[in-house]
Amino acid sequence: MGYVAVKGGTEAIEEACRLFAYQRIKGDSAPLEVAQIREQLYLAVDKAMGEGGLYAPDLAALALKQAAGDSLEASFMLRAFRATRQRLGTSLATDTSGMRIIRRISSAFKDIPGGQMLGATSDYTLRLLDFSLLADDEMRREAFRERIFRHLPSDLDIPRTFPKVIDILRREGLLAELPPRPAEDSPIPDLTRQPLVFPAPRAAKLQALARGETGGMLTLAYSSMRGYGDIHPTLGELRVGYLPLLIRHPISGETCRVGEVKVTEAEVLARMDGEGGMPRFSLGYGLCFGQNEIKAIAMAILDRSTRAAVPESPAENEEFVLYHIDGIEAMGFCNHWKLPHYVDFLSDLDRLRKSQELARNGRQREADHEQG
């Protein structure tokens, strides 16, 4: 099918853009400040950053405002923005053992070294509307702050870093390792500059998953959990915290901490492998920008499911998964159906009419033949 360009409609398009902006401001409510979105809708900001592949909380909040809350559009804007900025460099590769952790749980072990910290979560609440938020004002906020800090224990033992839960399994030889990776000095594949090829190098697969769309990844991971595949995971560890952004100082050559990046990391333990005659747990890994636990867990499940020796379901097919999880590509393709397809459709219509005419003529000939 070919595409045929149309022209015209400039004024109508400009008016439609103005009308879209007007919808946001036509009410009586106070203008929404970008800082309010960044601070109070931070999970939406985190999601947009992860899917846009750009860590920039202020811009993600701005994008959400401009897109009237549409997270796909917001992540699209972030990805478009990043294409306008020069790459200043690549950070030093860091592992997550030194992460400044604000939440850490395990569903594999009740007691883990360093302890489990629920952190900021609504996991254990009933999903009931909190009508007290209708009367959200500074006085109530101040009272809440005062209350939360008043009851804060002062003698808590706060470790700086936490050991990883999977290291326990690794030490006991219970974890299946992956084949040796490329040499340390070989460049890390980068999908912002290279196309995705299959079989995808592990680094490319992780990058594609890390900037995938949460809903799409959840759908595929859920299909595997439900039975279209056989990854029934146990969450070895889920961490939310801050990773240092480290670079090589261009003058001194020393390691320089630019700042911190909030991430969520998930490690899931899945079915046992029997390679080499020695059964072991296999591990799936997920890490994404911001606090987005569903995405990190889904990523870890998909990392594991796409390592199936013989793919038997969509979630086990690496090509299927990686080609369908990018929200911006998927929404772009879906959105393009809204663009004019007049000539294509007229062509289809013409062919359909001719086919019907042929069918009618054929039927008529058959009827004439039977009667004759």
Partner: protein, 141 residues
């Protein structure tokens, strides 16, 4: 390394403190050799199998200056030209091999801010630590 850690606090300093820091350089020979420029740094992380990969890019601003005969480099997160400039100037002040009239004042300001930042991080860590949980198995489990 210590000086790098001191300038790191500039990334999260309040804007008025950044201006206060820049004011310290008002009567110095500070020269901007590379004006603040926003760009991207690709983050690299090792997964649990020690495979390095890129989760995404981080918006940063970098600048370079010359002060007291020494070059200074500053990079901060976000689009923050004044902050990047302040970090570059502080970097030069703290690392210049010769005398630098503002070094002690810069160091004092940054040391104070580093303590403040550590205190904020401790407060956040304490809030998180208060959610530490020890589950008990139910009878018969």
């Amino acid at each position: 390394m210590i000086t790098q850690d001191l300038t790191a606090t500039i990334d999260t300093m309040a804007s008025d403190k950044v201006e206060q820091l820049l004011q310290l350089f008002a009567d110095t020979d500070l020269t901007i050799t590379q004006p603040p420029c926003a760009g991207l740094v690709m983050l690299a992380v090792h997964d649990s199998f020690n495979t390095a990969f890129h989760p995404g890019e981080v918006l940063v601003t970098e600048a370079r200056v010359k002060l007291c005969g020494c070059q200074g480099f500053g990079m901060v997160t976000g689009e923050e030209p004044r902050r990047a400039l302040a970090r570059a100037a502080a970097d030069a002040a703290l690392n210049s091999p010769g005398p630098c009239p503002v070094r002690d004042r810069v160091r004092r300001l940054l040391a104070t801010e580093t303590v403040r930042q550590a205190s904020e991080e401790l407060r956040e860590a304490t809030l998180a630590a208060a959610t530490r949980v020890e589950f008990d198995l139910m009878a018969g489990a």
